[in-house]
Symmetry: C2
Subunit: 221 residues, 2 copies
């Protein structure tokens, strides 16, 4: 099919670039989001993208922010007892990341941009405030909740995806924990099973509960 047979190449806009980037990530994974591949989808050269985004990091942040639109912040999802509401919001966030494991790996390193990220923070601040948490503590607690959720999604997502290289890294860890000499590392040898145990969601859920209990009991310095 030649250039002439297709509809006229649409003018580029920042929104269009980011929408196409989001589609690319959805279809092929975040690992395939590169300036060159994105440019190809948009039928231009990579240089043209720099008119709309500063660099790859900014592009990733925007795509991440786009995905956060799927986090459920509706009142129905956030009804009930406050700890449960925090839990459901964080679970929804985790779910979005786990649905696209490569995305979680981006999120550990890149802060999302855009309104959905702000809305997520806002919702958590509101619920924590309604739970009676002092403002200064609530702010840092939101930070910690998202940090923990992101990191454990990245870890669990990696384990599920198993794309060869990461499977190897995983096996290496398990092997070095399980193979640790009991004379030099007695506690580790005894607890290797526990260290490696837990489905991602169980562990992540426990982490979130722990953060809420800890935050309630730890005044800010």
């Amino acid at each position: 099919m030649s250039r002439r047979d297709r509809p006229a190449k649409p003018a580029l806009t920042r929104e269009g670039v980011i929408a196409t980037a989001t589609a690319l990530v959805r279809e092929e994974g975040a690992g395939r989001l590169t300036m060159r591949r994105l440019a190809q989808r948009l039928d231009t050269g990579p240089a043209s993208l720099y008119v709309y985004v500063r660099d790859t990091a900014e592009l990733q942040a925007a795509v991440l922010g786009e995905f956060l639109g799927a986090v459920d912040l509706t009142p129905a999802a956030t009804a009930g007892e406050w700890t449960g509401r925090v839990r459901r919001i964080v679970d929804s966030y985790t779910g979005v990341l786990l649905a696209h494991p490569s995305l979680a790996r981006v999120a550990v390193v890149t802060r999302p941009s855009g309104p959905h990220y702000l809305a997520l923070i806002e919702s958590l601040l509101v619920v924590l405030g309604e739970g009676g948490m002092p403002d200064d503590r609530a702010a840092w607690t939101v930070d910690l909740l998202l940090l923990v959720a992101t990191a454990s999604a990245a870890e669990h997502g990696t384990r599920r995806e198993e794309d060869g290289a990461e499977e190897a890294a995983d096996d290496a860890l398990a092997e070095s924990l399980r193979g640790a000499p009991a004379d030099r590392y007695p506690r580790l040898a005894a607890l290797a099973g526990e260290l490696l145990s837990g489905e991602g969601p169980d562990r992540a859920g426990w982490f979130v509960d722990l953060v809420l209990v800890g935050a309630a009991g730890t005044p800010r310095p």
Copy 2:
């Protein structure tokens, strides 16, 4: 200086490769650790390195493990009340990462390999056990402590290093938080200052205290 003037090229070994990689990271930062650059330092082609390491991820894990040798696990550092001992071990770990900020960014994504990492886990398990924490909880708590310490070191390290691109990303976050419209995001607008506040060590220290308080009060599922 020609090839003949230098001492004979030493035979490669895995240890030598990793030692040179560690020196490279110490001198130029983890961002400069590439197969090609490492090969250049070792006076070979990149292909030769694949005899000693599986791939870049394994190399990074090994270098990370090497750096963990600087974490202070001596009895003197781990004396006193148990929460303080945990705190000092984690602080020492954080200190190592903050001394080489680019390293912290590697650590969020890569598990260290080697004996120093095992020794770190062992020490934490021992202290938590002596503090009376049940085994199953202690295992997951160690995980969470290292996860939190690593992630906050990466964030704070990035802020300090300010290498242009990351400064931009930082500014973008601060700007979007501070510029959030107060009508749509009232809590966020009120707490933007708090969200961005805190020197890395203050925040990381609070996180660690919180995890210990939370772990003490949250039974495993």
